[in-house]
Every structure is written in structure tokens, then in C-alpha cells.
């Protein structure tokens, strides 16, 4: 398996001051009383969530309870949405990422994101992976090729595409496209991966392959995954958090170890939801 030390790229990827935090066992990602408004309309309110390093946390709940919005606060993709206002705290390692002085480009390198609909760029498979590497300063063609190969092996795509790396990425099947998008996030060696229902646009077979891939990412990455599929959450997540719309805004109802959420929920709503009676 590839270790981060093997990559000279890591020099670029770690900003000073975060190297130590990687080695600490304490929570890598932590939000405190996080709220988001679109204009005057609240999206979610007072979400406090902790994700330990190397764990997979599933966000579940009915549609429209702002799980995706929550996710896009974590890499400040909300900055792109006009009128979106965030309050509260988000810490990654020991950095408050809501500081205006924070370097967004560096943040988004540490926090990768996978979207619901696979969104490879309209370029070749190879270029899809090479572009982020080159963008973040790796110009050496040999190293680029090497990283692309190991990453594609990592997501189980290498054998399927090794003979047509120059083919357009949009020619791949949906499941392959999604795995390519995961690879595209992984080439940058992020610490955290945000996944917004990565399997929901795929057929069951492809969905299973991608799910297995996500499970294999445990330990190496901290994964926050939004899913509507309770069975999936139960299969792959270490922790599960239930979102629900209350008083006109999404709120965190319960958060705990997946086993506890599914087998011994503390809140009645959670019991009802995981029991399939609501939502």
C-alpha cells in the first residue's frame, strides 16, 4: 500500500502547523453550533458533530434536511453560493477553517469531495487525474504517471482503463466515472473525504463496487458520507448522525456509533426512522 511518505508531493500538501495534528488521535473534524442561512431562510441550525481521524461517519435523514448543505460548509464550497451565511465553528485539526484569512485552495486540497452525480471533466481519463496534480505543483511526468497508476489501482479502475488512459472520461460507465472522481480526489492525498450520496446515481452493481471502495478507505481517510440508504450506512459507517427538519431548519437529532444508533437509539425519532416507520 502506498504511504504518504512515498509521495514527494506531500511536501506541498501539508501546510505548516498541521503536520502534528495528523498524528494526534483526537478528533480531526469538529463542528460547534454550526448554522447555515440562505439569505434569511435557515438551512440547518446548531449542528455540533465530531469525526475522529480515520473513521467513516454517515449522515442520514429524509430529503431536504440539509445534509448536503452541511457537507459543503466543510470545504467552504458554500462560499460559491450567493447569500449563504455560515455561523459557528468548524475545526480541522487545530485550524479554524472559517477564518477569512484561510487559504481556500490549501483547504480544498486537504478536504476532497465526491458529488452525487459523477462529474469527471470533459478531458481524457489521464488528464482528469493529471490536472489536479499539475495544478498543485507536481510537474514531473514520471511521478505523475506513477501516482496516477497507484491511485487507479487503489480505486480498482486500473485494469479496466490502463489501455485507454487517453480516452475521454465521459465515455466511461457511471460507476467507472464515479470511481474516477474518487481517484481524482485521492491523487491529492486529502485527509478528509466528503461524499454526497456517491452511490445514488449508480445502478446496484456499480453502487456495490463503489461502496466496497469506500469501506476500503477507512483508516487512511476520514470520510463523511451523506446517504439515503440506511443499510449502506449500517454496513460501512463507524458513526451515524441523523438529521431531521425541526422548526423549519435541519437539525442534528442524534449522533453516535453506528451500532448504537441502529440497535439502541436514544431518541424516539431515531428509533422510528431506523425502524423504517418514518421519513
Amino acid at each position: 500500500m502506498v504511504t504518504s511518505e512515498a509521495y514527494p508531493l506531500m511536501k506541498f500538501l501539508e501546510s505548516p502547523g498541521t503536520v502534528q495534528s495528523l498524528e494526534q488521535p483526537q478528533p480531526l473534524l469538529q463542528t460547534t453550533n454550526l448554522s447555515l442561512h440562505y439569505g434569511l431562510k435557515p438551512a440547518f441550525r446548531d449542528v455540533s458533530l465530531v469525526a475522529p481521524a480515520g473513521s467513516i461517519t454517515a449522515l442520514v435523514g429524509p430529503s431536504g434536511c440539509s445534509k448536503t448543505s452541511f457537507l459543503s460548509c466543510l470545504n467552504r464550497l458554500t462560499d460559491l453560493i450567493p447569500g449563504a451565511q455560515v455561523s459557528g465553528q468548524i475545526r480541522i485539526g487545530d485550524r479554524d477553517i472559517r477564518q477569512p484569512s484561510l487559504n481556500l485552495i490549501a483547504l480544498r486540497r486537504r478536504v476532497g469531495m465526491i458529488f452525487q452525480k459523477p462529474n469527471p471533466f470533459p478531458l481524457s481519463i489521464w488528464k482528469n487525474l493529471a490536472l489536479p496534480l499539475r495544478e498543485h505543483g507536481l510537474g514531473n511526468r514520471h511521478q505523475v504517471d506513477q501516482i496516477i497508476e497507484t491511485t487507479l489501482q487503489d480505486v480498482g479502475l486500473w485494469d479496466e482503463v490502463k489501455d485507454r488512459l487517453k480516452a475521454p472520461a465521459l465515455k466511461l460507465s457511471g460507476g467507472q466515472q464515479q470511481r474516477l472522481c474518487i481517484a481524482r480526489a485521492l491523487v491529492l492525498k486529502p485527509e478528509i473525504l466528503l461524499m454526497d450520496e456517491p452511490c445514488s446515481a449508480l445502478d446496484p452493481l456499480a453502487s456495490g463496487i463503489v461502496e466496497d471502495l469506500i469501506a476500503r478507505l477507512r483508516q487512511r481517510y476520514t470520510v463523511i458520507i451523506v446517504t439515503h440508504n440506511l443499510a449502506q450506512a449500517r454496513r460501512i459507517a463507524d458513526y451515524t448522525a441523523l438529521f431531521w427538519v425541526q422548526e423549519g431548519a435541519g437539525q442534528l437529532v442524534e449522533h453516535g456509533a453506528t451500532q448504537q444508533i441502529f440497535e439502541a437509539p436514544q431518541v424516539e425519532l431515531t428509533a422510528a426512522y431506523v425502524g423504517g416507520m418514518r421519513g
Binding site: 470545504n75 464550497l77 476532497g112 470533459p122 495544478e135 480526489a185
Partner: protein
């Protein structure tokens, strides 16, 4: 509803159907008349010789060689200036309008007015600003710059549409990977929007080539071969005007020039339609 009513309706519908078809046929007929007339009278004059030789006897005889050269030079100046400004403005309007809301609204409104300014007013402005104030005189440069101002709105509108048609997924994906704005634009958005940009440029060329009034007092009337961009040069459309209005006996060559101008515009129109179709095709079948 009984049969009588149904019949009554049928009857009243006969008239509008007739009217609508009559209008369509009439418009088609007039177009055929104009085109046929120009083709009929113009085709006889056209030869390779006509296209490359100098006009003689105030244009009654000879060809349109220098006039074609001047037209192309004016177009060239127009594009070299208007494309960068137009594409830059379109990027700002399509991509930065969320951060620069007030500014981009202001620019957009100003372009709306610019799109409606009569070409003779552009002519007045080009005359006083480029020819007099900037001291360029009656020259190809003055004419090209005036046309550049004129085609900007059309160029910007279609470039902006092209950029907005790029799926938002690409922008989000690039942002999530921490791409700089420069990379996102240069590597992803501009290539994806290229056909839209191209259609805009082609439409701009069409508009510029059809223009006459804005050129009378900017690029001027001189029908000799231009030696530099600071020389006056007569555009093809102006040549048609001059031959038909100011030169008795110039109609034959005016017809031929009109045919050349129409042919060039048809080609340009066809190219634009072709690009647009290719683009649509490619976007439907990824």
C-alpha cells in the same frame, strides 16, 4: 356540442390558416425576389478578375480588389480589439456576477443600451473620438475600432451564453479540488464554451461586414489599395452605396459587389449554424 357548432368553428378557422400561409409565402417570395434580382444581375459581372482588380472610372469599370482588402483589414482590426474585451467581459458577467453584483449589473445595462445605439451614431462617435480626438484620421484603424464598439454587445451576449451553458458540475468539481480560478477558466470553462465563443465571433463578423453608416466618417471613401492601417479604405458595403447613389452608371458593379457581400454573409451564417449544430450534437451525445 352539436355538429353545427363544430362546423362553424371549422369555417372560421379557414381564414386565419389562409392568412398565415399567405404571409409566410409572401415573405419567402420577397426574399426570393431580392436574392434572385441580385443573383441575376450580379452573377454576369463576377469573375476572378473582378475580385482582384482595381476599380476604374469611379468604380463603373474594373473590380473590387482593394475594397475587399480594406474590408478584411477593417474586420481584422475590429476582431483583434473586440474579441479580448468581449470574452473578458463575458467571463466577468457569467462567472463573477455573484461577487461583483452591482458592477456586473451596471455593465450589463450599459451593454443593453449600446446594443440599441443606431449605427450612424457610432459613426459620429468614431469620427469625433477615434478620427479627431485620438488623431487616427479617416483610416482603417478608426473604422475597425468603431465597429469593435458596435459588435461588442452581440459578441458578449453569445460568449456569456456559451459560458453559462457549461455544466455547473465542472465549476463545483474544480472548486472542490482547489483549482485556482485561472486554471478552472483556462483548462475547463473556456474550452467547454469555445463553440459559443466562436458563434459570437462569427455573428460579430456578420454584423461588422454588413455595416455601412458607421464607416462613412471613420474609414472613409478612398478606393485605392491601403498601404497601412492608417490609410483610408473603402468597405464593400460602402462601395455598393457609393456606386448606386453617387456614380451614375455604377449599378452593374454595384450588383456584383452586393452579390459578393451576400455570398460572404451567407457563408458566415452557414458557418455559425454549423458550429451551433455540432455543438448541440456533441452536448446531447457526450
Amino acid at each position: 356540442m352539436n355538429d353545427n357548432q363544430a362546423f362553424g368553428k371549422q369555417h372560421r378557422d379557414w381564414l386565419p390558416t389562409f392568412l398565415v400561409w399567405a404571409v409566410a409565402l409572401g415573405v419567402t417570395g420577397i426574399f426570393a425576389w431580392i436574392l434572385g434580382d441580385i443573383l441575376w444581375h450580379g452573377a454576369a459581372q463576377i469573375s476572378w478578375e473582378f475580385l482582384i482588380s482595381e476599380p476604374e472610372d469611379a468604380g463603373r469599370a474594373g473590380g473590387i480588389g482593394p475594397i475587399l482588402v480594406s474590408t478584411l483589414l477593417i474586420l481584422g482590426v475590429c476582431l483583434v480589439v473586440s474579441v479580448p474585451i468581449g470574452v473578458g467581459t463575458a467571463i466577468l458577467l457569467a462567472d463573477l456576477s455573484t461577487t461583483d453584483t452591482l458592477f456586473s449589473n451596471l455593465v450589463r445595462r450599459s451593454l443593453d443600451v449600446l446594443a440599441g445605439v443606431p449605427s450612424i451614431v457610432f459613426g459620429l462617435f468614431g469620427n469625433v473620438f477615434f478620427a479627431k480626438t485620438l488623431g487616427l484620421g479617416f483610416s482603417i484603424l478608426s473604422g475597425g475600432l468603431t465597429l469593435a464598439c458596435m459588435v461588442l454587445p452581440i459578441l458578449i451576449r453569445s460568449a456569456e451564453e456559451g459560458l453559462r451553458a457549461v455544466p455547473p458540475d465542472y465549476r463545483l468539481g474544480a472548486a472542490a479540488l482547489g483549482f485556482s480560478r485561472t486554471t478552472t477558466l483556462g483548462q475547463l470553462l473556456l474550452p467547454a464554451a469555445a463553440p459559443g465563443l466562436l458563434v459570437g465571433v462569427v455573428l460579430g463578423i456578420g454584423r461588422a461586414m454588413a455595416e455601412t453608416a458607421a464607416l462613412i466618417f471613420t474609414s472613409g471613401y478612398v478606393d485605392r489599395m491601403p498601404e497601412s492601417l492608417l490609410d483610408s479604405g473603402r468597405a464593400l458595403s460602402l462601395h455598393i452605396f457609393d456606386l448606386s447613389m453617387n456614380v451614375p452608371g455604377g449599378n452593374a458593379n454595384a450588383y456584383a459587389s452586393a452579390l459578393v457581400l451576400l455570398a460572404l454573409l451567407l457563408v458566415i451564417n452557414g458557418v455559425a449554424a454549423w458550429i451551433a449544430e455540432q455543438w448541440l450534437h456533441r452536448r446531447l451525445i457526450p
